[in-house]
Symmetry: C2
Subunit: 359 residues, 2 copies
Amino acid sequence: MKVHGKSFRSIWRDPSQHGVRIIDQTLLPFAFEEKQLVSMEQAVDAIRGMRVRGAPLIGVTAAYGVALAMREDGSNTALDRACRQLQATRPTAVNLAWALARMKATLTPLDPLDREAAAWHLADELAEEDVATNAAIGRHGAVLLKSLHQQHGRTVNVLTHCNAGWIATVDWGTALSAIYHAHDEGTPVHVWVEETRPRNQGLLTAWELREHGVPHTYIVDNAGGHLMQHGQVDIVLVGADRVSRRGDVANKIGTYLKALSARDNDIPFYAAVPSSTIDWNLNDALAEIEIEQRHADEVRILRGRSHDGLTRDIQLLDPATPVANPGFDVTPARLVTGIVTERGIVMPDRLESLFRKST
Amino acid sequence: MKVHGKSFRSIWRDPSQHGVRIIDQTLLPFAFEEKQLVSMEQAVDAIRGMRVRGAPLIGVTAAYGVALAMREDGSNTALDRACRQLQATRPTAVNLAWALARMKATLTPLDPLDREAAAWHLADELAEEDVATNAAIGRHGAVLLKSLHQQHGRTVNVLTHCNAGWIATVDWGTALSAIYHAHDEGTPVHVWVEETRPRNQGLLTAWELREHGVPHTYIVDNAGGHLMQHGQVDIVLVGADRVSRRGDVANKIGTYLKALSARDNDIPFYAAVPSSTIDWNLNDALAEIEIEQRHADEVRILRGRSHDGLTRDIQLLDPATPVANPGFDVTPARLVTGIVTERGIVMPDRLESLFRKST
């Protein structure tokens, strides 16, 4: 998508063929800086330091990390070491494990001298797959937004939570992919961007939308219900971390509250996800998913720009104040109008028939 | 209530009889400082500069402001001028207008030389009335918390939003009055303190509770629904800015989302208010109350302590990003389990019979 009017992906091959380039996401939205990764160690640092974030992007970055390792040394030892070190950066990331397993399975049978070229090729392929999946999600989602526009006869007001945008993927994003596609096709869209405390990923969403020219308004998480009560939201559209077989949506903390409010005001609630996010082993997500308790400093410390123009961290509350910081919540399938996937849009209880019968 | 182990009110007569003392609430929770008000002009500044906040406290501060004016000059001109200047500090505050009208009605018939003493007397009376009302609210609310304790056989987990504490009143507060009374009587209580973006009044609530020794945990506003889904909340208890005749609750933005979540998880939702907060001319608050849109800087700029120990403001988002900042929302009576008042606890549809038949 666009930054300063120029098209970007969140990771791309360096024109000099020396490595890959990323956007340093730790600096966003306060500064936009590219960063070159020319070694596996730099890929490890980028993932661990959250310069790249979002499950799909982490997986692709790790794949390129393997390619960078193979350029230096194509041996079995080097391949094992690269996969092990890259996997250790974010041990719980599903896409990371999946991407590394795919790299290893493809490279292991090859002659060590052929591994570098094959690694670059496969990493490129993983990146293109991600882009194609997200583009398909976006095309389906855009049809939904267009039909809401036709139904209401005015700009469609979409409320989104967290960042399900292109910088969390290689390109397009998931929920925001639908918005970008609708906007690019001429459907008038306005986005209510929720701040998403504690990590304020709404800042990233607002940055993305501004750079791409999509009308939007930033709101605190408390404001969404009120806007829905007053007819100012036509659809809630979010991404998801995990979707259960029956269509429960595990997503960033606070999503459930917006689903409740959408239901109370007869507003459709959709999650947009690649099918890789659906966990077919999970049925009742509320009962089965363990609550991830994240560090209190995410709540305590905030980053912003101070009067002197510097980016600073400030402590919002006394270190002695006890904090609880659950990272996500579960929106039960009964509150979910539909799931937008790369194969189309389905009601939660039709997920299985869309994917399982044909795979 | 207690600060550093010592009992405080939010406004009190200076022992030297030179004026009144307040707590400078603009510095909380980062610093605790008393401030002396010895002139009407200082009372005006304190209200306008939000060194005192909360409707009941503003009203009482204005009453003392009139007393300070009368000490200098008991003439009709001085009385008119004091009331006009004090009223202009926060033109929409109902308690402020009410307190000033009461001062004026009492003082006008008196000889100018008798006005100062009468003004001090009436201002003291208004302060005592506020304390008595809030104490009564607290006693009724504490019974509710005690019965929840007996029902569950463990610590009662209360979730609260915004600051309905003693520093918004002369003493005790409203929702927190119930918590203080329960705690002081030995009912084991733990409070989930919601941050309450954008102005983070949760910081004040956490400060109050810590100083008084009530167990509590600070959470972002997004976390409340998740905690309710997992049985970690036994009651939602909030204050209110305005309650309609039929029991709709207008309160700080985000309250409605917690009421929805409470209903979805069979958790009782109560508002604690003095009867002066009930607007008998208002029936359907959602349809009849106009939305107060507050300044975008409340969302954009945050205050905290930086590494150098200084209290600093930081800019969270680009000044070019559009912001919407509705100040409150309406929780419809259908989601309200009960209203805690100084006369007792009633279901929303019994409010009128509790107050109107006997007044």
